[in-house]
């Protein structure tokens, strides 16, 4: 394929994302703190953005590998025809890959989202004051909070995940072009 192969550097990126996923979350968390807890990046480290960075670092591999497998199943000639027709990377990505594989993109996104929504161990090390994810909130309340509140938050957590999957399911059932 023209662009998807990308070259040998792609293998290193893949290995790095796999490592971030399989390594203990504490290890990744400490690494991210060491990297981002600096004056120059304090605006990220001190806010919710840091949780997003952590989630991307840990779960990017889930979405990327899913998407790679889905794209690899289609004919490489679809991409090669686009390149030969004069399309640059961005045009190829937005006009061919995304519309052609929108279901794959959605599935990859949903998978990664489910992992992020249920994550506790990554965010617990660096969530900002007042910006803790629901999983962390449930964990801290579990120790000394009212049981009813903990139960209610657990229901909310489950409902959010189920809701995202339900919306995804509806979109996936939409009819494609003939």
């Amino acid at each position: 394929m023209a662009w998807p192969d990308g070259g040998p550097e792609r293998r290193y990126w893949t290995a790095l994302t796999v490592l971030a996923f399989v390594a203990p979350a504490v290890l990744l968390g400490i690494g991210l703190i060491a990297l981002w807890n600096r004056p120059a990046t304090a605006f990220v480290y001190g806010g919710v953005g840091m949780i997003v960075v952590g989630y991307i670092g840990r779960y990017a591999v889930v979405g990327l590998r899913t998407l790679t497998i889905i794209i690899a199943q289609s004919s490489p000639h679809l991409e090669e025809s686009a390149a030969a027709a004069g399309a640059g990377y961005l045009r190829w990505l937005t006009r061919i890959v995304a519309p052609l594989h929108w279901r794959g993109v959605l599935v990859a996104w949903l998978l990664a989202l489910v992992f992020c929504l249920r994550d506790f161990e990554t965010a617990v090390l660096f969530y900002p004051p007042g910006g803790e994810p629901l999983t962390v909130r449930i964990f801290t309340l579990e120790a000394n909070g009212p049981e009813a509140v903990v139960a209610a938050l657990a229901v909310v957590q489950t409902a959010v995940t189920a809701g995202a999957l339900a919306i995804g399911g509806v979109l996936l059932r939409r009819r494609s072009t003939p």
Binding site: M1, S75, A83, G86
Partner: protein, 251 residues
């Protein structure tokens, strides 16, 4: 005049297996050349080298005299080569209409909307699909899809069209009809064409010149008469003696 496509002493290996060995080939401006050879002899690899999806380990690829790949490096990316390709599976983009398929490359090449529409309608008219412009590839017959594929390639007015066995999966009657159409549209536009096939009847129907590739080596290049009068290898001899060729001669 410099050849439209030129390969100089090109060598390529997959691991330890040689795919192309010292291949030199030239396609003149406006010429239709068929690269003929058995399956697995490296025909499609030649197209991929010209398109820029891979680089020769040794040797160089030139377009209009300009070196675009050499010695393991792609110097000009595929999108900048102003080529067009028709693959065996046609590779029509299923989520775009016929018009969308033709418009895609023109948009990429920054052709104005007015000229784009003009060229698309003219080309669709030429291949007899003007009434199918809003259809999706999945709604067309096999023959119509072939027409869209050739129209999509030619509407770009490329410096050359590369065709990789586009008629391999087509029945005999339809193949004849499409060969006639290909010949007409390619000749009236004087488009340089490199047509890859293992079928002598397709080569005969279309080309000005035939190059025979065997195990990654060019064994002979010339007109049909050249091949017939002085076959350069047992393979070419066998090809000329084949029942298919005798049938063509009879016809």
């Amino acid at each position: 005049m410099k050849p439209a496509i030129e390969l100089h002493d090109v060598t390529l290996r997959y691991g330890d297996s040689p795919v192309l060995e010292g291949l030199s080939l030239a396609v003149r401006q406006g010429e239709i050349l068929t690269l003929l050879g058995p399956s697995g002899c490296g025909k499609s690899t030649v197209l991929r080298l010209i398109l820029g999806f891979m680089a020769p380990a040794q040797g160089r690829v030139c377009l209009d005299g300009e070196v675009v790949s050499c010695d393991g490096r792609v110097l000009q990316p595929p999108e900048a080569r102003r080529l067009a390709v028709v693959f065996q599976d046609l590779a029509l983009w299923p989520h775009l209409t016929v018009q969308g398929n033709l418009a895609f490359g023109l948009e990429a090449r920054k052709i104005s909307a007015q000229e784009r529409n003009q060229r698309i309608m003219h080309m669709l008219g030429r291949v007899g699909l003007i009434d199918k412009a809003k259809r999706y590839p999945g709604e067309l017959s096999g023959g119509e899809r072939q027409r869209v594929a050739i129209a999509r390639a030619l509407v770009l007015e490329p410096r050359a069209v590369l065709m990789d066995e586009p008629l391999a999966n087509v029945d005999v009657a339809l193949k004849q009809e499409l060969l006639e159409l290909f010949r007409e549209v390619l000749r009236e536009r004087k488009v340089t064409t490199l047509y890859v096939s293992h079928d002598l009847s397709e080569a005969t129907a279309l080309s000005d010149c035939i190059a025979v590739l065997e195990a990654g080596r060019l064994v002979q290049q010339g007109s049909l008469d050249d091949l017939r009068s002085a076959p350069a290898s047992p393979f070419v001899q066998a090809l000329m003696n084949s029942a298919a060729w005798k049938n063509i001669q009879t016809e």
